[in-house]
């Protein structure tokens, strides 16, 4: 029997039971749509985060830390800073500055704390930095929207992120340039722990950076001068040291990273933007695999649905199979007819599934952006400054089709095989 005749025979059999075939197809549609929607949202999210990281985290900088904070999660070296009591000090920058290819380095002290405007206390991160160096390293993100970042700040001078100035994203500002803000942190080194506080003066509000920032400036932090942080937090230690390199060659990054680790006898972690991006992409791969796995369960259910329907179909058509065999049809042709029916259902399901998955992903993106409200027609979604643009790659598209068709074929294999093995005499006698 010719291939086109097998195909048209199968197609005719499907058309005869439209509702049943439709419902079976729906199962595949849901499975494929779930996979496509989840993957395109995740991939869109990954693209967004990567882009934000690249702007917020200069590729020619390294972050040195004692294994706490960023370094612990994103350590590049095999060894992590030990808990042997090693502390990174503010003036360790002098050691780092002597390393070849290091342009400059600066220490960062940060503590969780609050900012108060007299009526409200806002949870924030208090970050002690050298304003001049910080703005030169993060020249694209540590930028004032209003006011100006002071180069020779007073002790009380502070710079606040956009979400500290405007935490509720409406006209009600928490603070603005020239306002006074209470800076509060809980000193737990004394007993009993005690709240330390001083009044800061807002010199600048940063322009919005976006929801995610590794190592660099963030929207929800309060920046105070490093000298003030030193005395306010009563410490000579720092959380991390940011190192600006002369260039962002891979060899420079590796050499300087190793030199820094050697200088501190391997007790620090050195993180580079490239390393963070690599780790991020592997984290996203795991997330994608996980989500695709969940979605694949629905495809599995669809597969079982196909098998069920094919077995019912096999029973209904036992006599027909007997006739076909009496007319000289071979076993493998019967097998192909049944497989073909299922593959047609799978292929149609996959195509509709990809389309509906893509629509679903965009709907989710729009709902995210509007917080369930404002639809602007733009496909980008914003959550806390984060925009998601769903991304449908050719790989995902092809995989979706392959999975849809593959699952259909695999689950139809058993019914098709049974159909092909029916004995003509018994099949013809079947009522």
């Amino acid at each position: 029997m010719k291939a086109q005749d097998i195909l048209s025979y199968s197609f005719g059999a499907i058309r005869l039971r439209k509702l049943r075939a439709g419902l079976t197809t729906l199962g595949v549609v849901i499975g494929i749509a779930a996979i496509v929607a989840l993957l395109s949202i995740t991939q869109g999210l990954q693209a967004t985060i990567t882009r934000q990281l690249q702007t917020g985290f200069a590729t020619d900088t390294l972050i040195v830390s004692t294994g706490g904070g960023l370094g612990a999660g994103f350590g590049t070296g095999g060894e992590r800073a030990t808990s042997s009591g090693f502390k990174l000090l503010i003036n360790d920058t002098q050691i780092i500055n002597n390393i070849t290819n290091v342009e400059t380095s600066m220490a960062i002290i940060q503590r969780a704390g609050w900012a108060g405007n007299g009526t409200t206390n806002l949870t924030t991160t208090i970050v002690g930095v050298n304003f001049t160096e910080y703005s030169s390293i993060y020249s694209s993100t540590f930028v004032a929207e209003s006011g100006a970042i002071p180069l020779n700040p007073e002790n009380e001078t502070i710079v606040v992120g956009k979400r500290v100035s405007d935490p509720w994203k409406n006209e009600t500002l928490f603070c603005n340039v020239n306002d006074n803000v209470e800076i509060i942190w809980t000193n737990a080194t004394t007993l009993p722990p005690k709240n330390e506080t001083y009044t800061g003066h807002v010199a600048a509000v940063l322009k919005e950076i976006g929801g995610f920032s590794a190592g660099g400036p963030s929207d929800s932090s309060v920046y105070i001068p490093i000298s003030q942080a030193q005395s306010f937090f009563d410490t000579g230690e720092c959380n991390s040291i940011i190192v600006k390199l002369k260039n962002d060659d891979k060899t420079t990054i590796d050499n300087v990273s190793n030199a820094i680790k050697d200088s501190f006898s391997g007790q620090v972690s050195v993180t580079s933007a490239t390393a963070v991006l690599n780790i991020l992409s592997s984290v996203f791969s795991i997330i994608q695999l996980f989500l695709a796995g969940i979605a694949a369960i629905s495809l599995l259910v669809a597969g079982i649905g196909i098998m069920n329907i094919m077995i019912v179909s096999l029973m209904e058509r036992t006599r027909e199979i007997g006739i076909l065999k009496a007319l000289g049809m071979k076993n493998q042709t019967v097998l192909l007819i049944f497989l073909c029916e299922s593959v047609i259902i799978g292929a149609i399901g996959a195509i509709i599934g990809i389309a509906s998955g893509w629509v679903l992903a965009n709907v989710v993106a729009i709902v995210f952006r509007g917080g369930g409200g404002a639809f602007t027609g733009n496909q980008a979604a914003t959550t806390g400054g984060m925009t998601i643009t769903p991304l449908l790659t050719p790989t995902v598209t092809i995989l979706a089709v392959v999975f849809g068709v593959g699952v259909s074929a695999i689950f139809a294999l058993y019914p098709a095989w049974r159909a092909s093995k029916l004995k003509p005499v018994e099949a013809l006698r079947y009522e």
Binding site: M1, K2, D5, Y9, G12, A13, L16, R319, E320, G322, I323, L324, K325, A326, L327, G328, M329, K330, N331, Q332, T333, K423, P424, V425, L428
Partner: protein, 227 residues
Amino acid sequence: MATIVEATNLKKTYMLGKIPVDALRGVNLKVESGDFLAILGPSGSGKSTLLNLIGALDKPSEGKMMIEGIDISTLDDGQLADLRRGIGFVFQFFNLIPRFTARENVELPMAIAGLSKADRRKRAEDLLETVGLKERMNHKPTELSGGEQQRVAIARALANNPKFLVMDEPTGNIDSKTANEIICLIKRLNEEKAVTIIMVTHDQHLAGQSKKIVQMFDGLITKEVVN
């Protein structure tokens, strides 16, 4: 005349649940080209079992069933299917594919044999003309009377130029007036087109039209009469 079918000491035992049933207990039969053979017998006499073996739908338990000189016991499923393409089947309940039109039903064996669409369409129309149904060829089986359906089935049986036709009570499910038309058609095929016919029937009138009657009882051939 060439021998088309030759059964030697043919035995067939099948299981009815757990009880073995000896449907054929040593049948010897020879069918020559151009024959018109009627197999008569009460139900349970083994005539349908014999017909299934003649049609290569089943294999014997013992003995030899030669079709065109080939022992069907030696064939695998695929070879049996190939062999069946050279045999035309007509069933009591027509066994047409309900979703196909008359013409498509006649085309089906040719499609299975791999004929091109144009060739099989042409031949299907010719065959339907032979059985007098050219005007009704685009009707589905449900839109045809029993006699018409059986004529479509006969046209389908003739599609691949079979060596012989195997008919299982071809008039068993149609009224006597229509049955007469079918009998005439079968007789005409045998006489004018020299089609070899082997059929099982209860119909004494139909059996009377055949060239040879084989009487079966309890799994054995008890009598052979040449008309």
